[in-house]
Amino acid sequence: MIELEHVSKVYPGSNGNFKALDGITLRFPAGEFVAIVGKSGSGKSTLINLIAGIDRPSDGVIRVVGTPVGTLDESNLATWRGRHIGVVFQFFQLLPTLTIAENVMLPMDFCATLEPRAARLRAMALLEKVGIADQANKLPSSLSGGQQQRAAIARALANDPPLIVADEPTGNLDSHTAEAVLALLVGLSKAGKTVVMVTHERDLTQYADRIVTLADGKIASQTTAGQHTVSEVSHA
């Protein structure tokens, strides 16, 4: 599903270049729930941005669902992402002038996957699935954080992508709501979606199939559920 080979990312800065990722090689099979953890500046958000095609690697190759992401131009990348990846942000990033249902319909509109009436039906079904169908015709500003994040997850599922990428999806939620959101993501994983999630939370063993810990742009350890194996720091 996702293959990263010797991926590095360097940001130029006024005090010289900053290496956010340093030769990362990873493989995530389909249906796996992967949590990427690490301290601030460890490179976890950079890694997820590269997987989602939001940013491009300075070196190395990233293949997602068989597509080398770095070879697509911005426009093709957008369409590809719209169809293959659902992105969930920490601050939800719902468009403020659209209702919850309309926010969910928007990816279907851009990717022309369903005509408006069918898109509306699907949006309602997805909102039902995440438990906020009764909020469908409200604007995001009138929903709680947890409800907005559920809406964002529904939007991420709009085009039925095989991969869900979530950047600190619980970072802005209370613990009770965060658990509910995590449960939703687990459900998606069990339904066959690959879920890659960046988080500060360390205790994710009950949710994630694999936990990848980053430190200074490198993989510090990998833990898989059941095995609890700590791997060596990997460069290749």
């Binding site: 957008a78 002038t97 509109d109 408006p116 898109a119 015709n137 500003s141």
Partner: protein, 802 residues
């Protein structure tokens, strides 16, 4: 908050666009207003141009105006008309005459141009149409031009006391009204227009002779030189047959007497309108860039969920196009209304009937193009820039970045540094405001220059009334007038209609048949005259010893542009030749072309002596009166005295009449300038309002940070106002500099049109300070509202605002 449930579901992205438009009502309104105002202006000006150009053909050219008029010594009888019609290059010929008479209106005498028609039923040249009353007028009756009713204070069925040069005053019945589009409105020329038959002319005490042979030439596109050539050929041919031709008059072909004013006004208004559209385009571009600042992160989100660059570009291009289309929808009917108002005003200036006020389709097409395409073209750059932004750049966007500050600006005051953080936007805003301000100031400067010129009429003339006689008089007349109560001083001047003579050829003058427009005369004031004092442009004024010298006023000098001081000029005074040496050129505002010689030299040319009978055909009189009514009373006394003495007065024109005539001629131009000033001020200040709105919005997070470190809302507002004032002040300085050459250019254009000389260059303090005050006011209003909102926003809300 629950929104309505949709039955038919529109595409979500267009729904988003519509909601965004609603959310940005204020900014959209700014853009819409700016584009609409400029498209209205373009529509009104182009529409007026199209309608009036068409109406010139329907009105003025519809009268079949004379290509040339040959002034014969004797009567133009049927044989002469037939001879003229047989000339191979002549299409039509007709006998006419124009008599300068006077009509008594209340207690005063006013000028009355009497057009004597050979046969009302068979007019072929310079025709006019009956609109009320009898046609043709019976003997003893007169038709008057419709615009003359106010000058004569009489209408159909009324009576006017008319006096001609050789007759006694006689009551004439006004039998009907006519419309004569070949004449400028009577009130502008301060004269009445009457139409009579030969028989009526006879009853007024004049010999029933018609001295004018009016012709039209076969070539409908003949130039003025071509017409002169045909007229001269005909004149030679008539002379060869013993028919004496005194003078040839050729007006500019196919051109209404006020057409130059029309074209110049419309051209100038069009230039201002196009400039307003360009400025609106800049405003749209800036405002849109501002809107996109708010939208950048949303663009990032949309791209994250699958939107392509092309789709994003399409959305925002459609937004601009919608604004353009809304502007066009509003501007087309309002432009049409503007056309109707403008054409009506200009038609009044030209004495036209608007036979068809329909605006041609191409005008609407130009408006649609201007509104639909121009904003889109100028907005394409910011839209493309925002659409192409990568997802990461868009998601990381937090408003204006401090990185754009250059080290060079570090020493500048803080408001200046803030404004310089967006150098491109600052440049656009300053350009917009400077251009708008320069035009605003130019319009008011030119208007002030015009007023200054009008003031010169009084400053350079120190008399109150000019009296012209039908026959030249001697000095006793002047002496008797000088003795009257209220009269301060009197000068007796020689006066004669004249022409620049070509040796061996019949005189050709470029005068309209009303003999007012483009006329030329020679005057003979005393060399030490105290009643005029014109500024000398070249050489010097006349001296008592100047028996051979001549001074031209600037309007006369413009007719012989190659002439230099010291050159000889051949003049013809009513057929009497005179060759004189040019000693000076003076600026004489508000006069047609005049050549000045001393009274001594004038008397010699006309074969008499100063003071002797026949030397003075004109008196210029200063009174002791210091009120308009006082002057009128003295003028009435003078008129009475001259009447008692049996002196036939051709005209008696108070100086105030000259001023009124000048103001009436060009009032539409000054109004047009002021209208354009308002348009430019609107667009310019909207630009400033837009920029300041943007500046506040994109720094909302920055203000939140400032507040967390102790800045009060008041301090933030003061900072923003200072920034707006900095931008306003910078643009004001540039506008002031730009207004200098622009004022000079428009002064030249308008001055040449109205006075045959550039207007005096004036940088009006009212214009400069008025614009500064306007900028200051708009800066305050356009900043306080958004700044207040931003400054009072909670820190938490502001930090996630963008």
């Amino acid at each position: 908050m629950s929104l309505h449930k949709t039955h038919s579901i529109p595409s979500i992205r267009w729904l988003k666009l519509a909601r965004d438009l609603m959310a940005e009502k204020g900014r959209i309104l700014l853009m819409l207003t700016a584009i609409t105002v400029s498209i209205i202006a373009i529509g009104a000006v182009l529409g007026s141009y199209a309608v009036l150009t068409r109406e010139i053909a329907a009105n003025y050219l519809g009268t079949n105006p004379a290509s040339a008029t040959l002034e014969l010594e004797g009567d133009v009888d049927a044989r002469i008309v037939k001879l003229a019609r047989q000339h191979p290059q002549v299409r039509e010929a007709e006998a006419r005459d124009v008599i300068l008479a006077r009509a008594k209106v209340g207690e005063d005498w006013r000028s009355l141009l009497l057009f004597v028609i050979d046969d009302f039923a068979a007019m072929r040249i310079s025709t006019f149409a009956p609109i009320q009353g009898a046609w043709p007028p019976a003997t003893g009756e007169m038709l008057i031009e419709r615009t003359a009713t106010s000058m004569l204070e009489a209408t159909v069925g009324g009576h006017v006391l008319v006096k001609t040069a050789h007759g006694t005053a006689r009551e004439v019945t006004i039998a009907g009204l006519v419309h004569d589009p070949g004449l400028a409105p009577a009130s502008q020329e301060r004269t009445g227009y009457g139409y009579i038959s030969r028989a009526t002319l006879s009853t007024l005490g004049e010999r029933p002779l018609l001295h004018e042979l009016r012709i039209t030439v076969r070539d409908p596109q003949a130039s003025i030189q071509g017409v002169e050539s045909v007229a001269s050929n005909l004149a030679r041919s008539l002379t060869d047959q013993g028919i004496a031709v005194h003078e040839i008059r050729v007006p500019p072909p196919r051109q209404h007497p006020h057409q130059r004013q029309l074209v110049t006004i419309l051209f100038m208004m069009l230039a201002f309108s196009v400039m307003a559209l360009v400025l609106s385009g800049i405003l749209v571009s800036g405002s849109l860039a501002a809107m996109l600042v708010r939208q950048v992160r949303e663009i990032g989100i949309m791209k994250t969920i699958g939107a392509r660059t092309r789709q994003i570009f399409g959305m925002y291009a459609l937004m601009v196009a919608s604004i353009g289309i809304m502007a066009v929808v509003l501007a087309i009917p309002l432009g049409w209304l503007g056309t109707q108002i403008l054409t009506k005003a200009i038609a009044g200036l030209l004495n036209f009937n608007l036979t068809d006020a329909a605006v041609p389709t191409w005008v609407f097409a130009v408006q649609a193009f201007a509104g639909g395409v121009v904003p889109l073209l100028v907005a394409a750059i910011p839209i493309a820039r925002a659409s192409r932004m990568s997802v990461r750049q868009a998601l990381d966007h937090y408003g204006v970045s401090p990185d754009s500050l250059r080290w060079r600006t570090a020493k500048l005051p803080r408001p200046a540094r803030n404004a310089l953080r967006r150098p491109t936007r600052l440049a656009l805003t300053v350009a917009l405001l400077a251009a708008g301000g320069a035009m605003f100031m130019t319009a008011l400067n030119v208007s002030a220059g015009w007023d200054r010129n009008i003031a010169k009429v009084y400053e350079t003339r120190h008399y109150d009334v000019e009296v012209r006689f039908h026959e030249a008089q001697g000095s006793p007349v002047a002496e008797r007038i000088r003795a009257l109560p209220g009269v301060k001083s009197v000068e007796a001047w020689g006066y004669s209609p004249a022409a620049f003579a070509k040796p061996g050829q019949i005189n050709v003058v470029r005068t309209y048949p009303d003999r007012g427009h483009a006329s030329f005369s020679v005057m003979g004031p005393p060399a030490d005259t105290r009643l005029i004092g014109f500024p000398v442009l070249a050489g010097r004024w006349l001296q008592p010893t100047d028996t051979e010298g001549v001074v031209l006023n600037h309007a006369a000098a413009a007719q012989v542009p190659q002439i230099r001081i010291g050159d000889r000029i051949d003049l013809s005074l009513d057929g009497k030749p005179a060759s004189r040496r040019l000693v000076g050129i003076v600026e004489e505002i508000g006069s047609s072309a005049v050549a000045y010689v001393t009274d001594q030299a004038f008397a010699r040319i006309v074969g008499t002596q100063v003071g002797a009978q026949g030397s003075a055909r004109l008196l210029r009189i200063a009174t002791h009166a210091n009120s308009p009514q006082g002057r009128i009373d003295v003028i009435r006394t003078i008129e009475q005295r001259l009447s008692d003495d049996g002196v036939s007065v051709e005209t008696a024109v108070p100086l105030a009449e000259l001023r009124t005539a000048m103001a009436d001629h060009i009032v539409i131009l000054t109004r047009a300038l002021l209208t354009m000033a308002v348009v430019m001020a609107t667009v310019g200040t909207l630009g400033l309002a837009s920029t300041m709105g943007v500046s506040v919005v994109e720094r909302t997070r920055e203000f939140a940070v400032m507040k967390t470190v102790g800045a009060t809302p008041r301090r933030i507002i003061v900072l923003l106002i200072a920034e707006a004032l900095f931008i306003g002040a910078l643009s004001w300085i540039i506008a002031l500099i730009l207004a200098v050459p622009l004022t000079g250019l428009v002064d030249t254009l308008v001055g040449r049109l109205g006075f045959v000389a550039p207007l005096p260059f004036i940088m009006s303090p009212v214009a400069a300070l008025g614009w500064l005050a306007l900028l200051g006011g708009v800066s305050l209003v356009s900043t306080i509202l958004p700044a207040n909102r931003a400054a009072r926003m909670s820190v938490a809300r502001a930090l996630v605002a963008l």
